[in-house]
Subunit: 126 residues, 2 copies
């Protein structure tokens, strides 16, 4: 995999924002620094980065496919349905383990996604 300007920019953007970005958002941020980059280039670059394990793909209900820098530790989010604030959660916080699923179903888990919505402590008080 060649070290091209597009690859550098896509990687930089994902590292900088440290959250899942849509292809659209990625493209816009990349274009701020190199306007002639095409949508299809960003598309193929994230595809390559994902195949190389440097980027992780995250699918958000309603929000379509998104991509995040794979070095960020695996985690989930709970979003406050009133104020929109979000808090990170890891599997341990949720009591989740792939072993447990394996014991219950026999499936070998290779991907999971957990989305939570609720009311944050601040909003509960008011």
């Amino acid at each position: 995999m060649r070290n091209t300007r597009a690859t550098q920019l896509v990687s930089d953007v994902l590292r900088t924002y440290a959250r899942p970005l849509s292809l659209q958002e990625l493209h816009e941020h990349v274009q701020e620094r190199l306007p002639r980059v095409a949508h299809s280039t960003v598309y193929r670059v994230v595809g390559r980065l994902e195949a190389a394990g440097r980027v992780r793909r995250v699918d958000w209900r309603e929000r379509g496919s998104r991509y995040e820098w794979a070095e960020l530790p695996h985690h989930h989010h709970i979003v406050c349905s009133l104020c929109g604030r979000s808090v990170d959660l890891d599997d341990a916080d949720l009591g989740f383990s792939e072993e447990r699923v394996r014991a219950a179903t026999g499936f070998l888990v290779d991907h999971h996604s957990i989305e939570l919505e609720g009311i944050c402590p601040d909003c509960q008080r008011s």
Copy 2:
């Protein structure tokens, strides 16, 4: 909401199959009993049923939106990434509880969605 032939058929199919079906699959099954039903009709019918709370929408990574009968008890699915077979899981199987999230974050959870993908026992053998 009127009780039309299309609505009845879509409801019947979802009740009968008791698993998440894509728009495509729904359309095919409905057409077996009433061939002139259009894709767009099925699309609008599930939309209406969802708005009425009679159908629940489930989003599967890679596989797009699916719909299932909402009276089925709350559960999640693990889908085999090779053969597409799915198995139901409830929160207890996953060790999940909203209480646990509350303890970790202070959030009062009012909605959660969990999607799993892996290799089923059969496909692991081959």
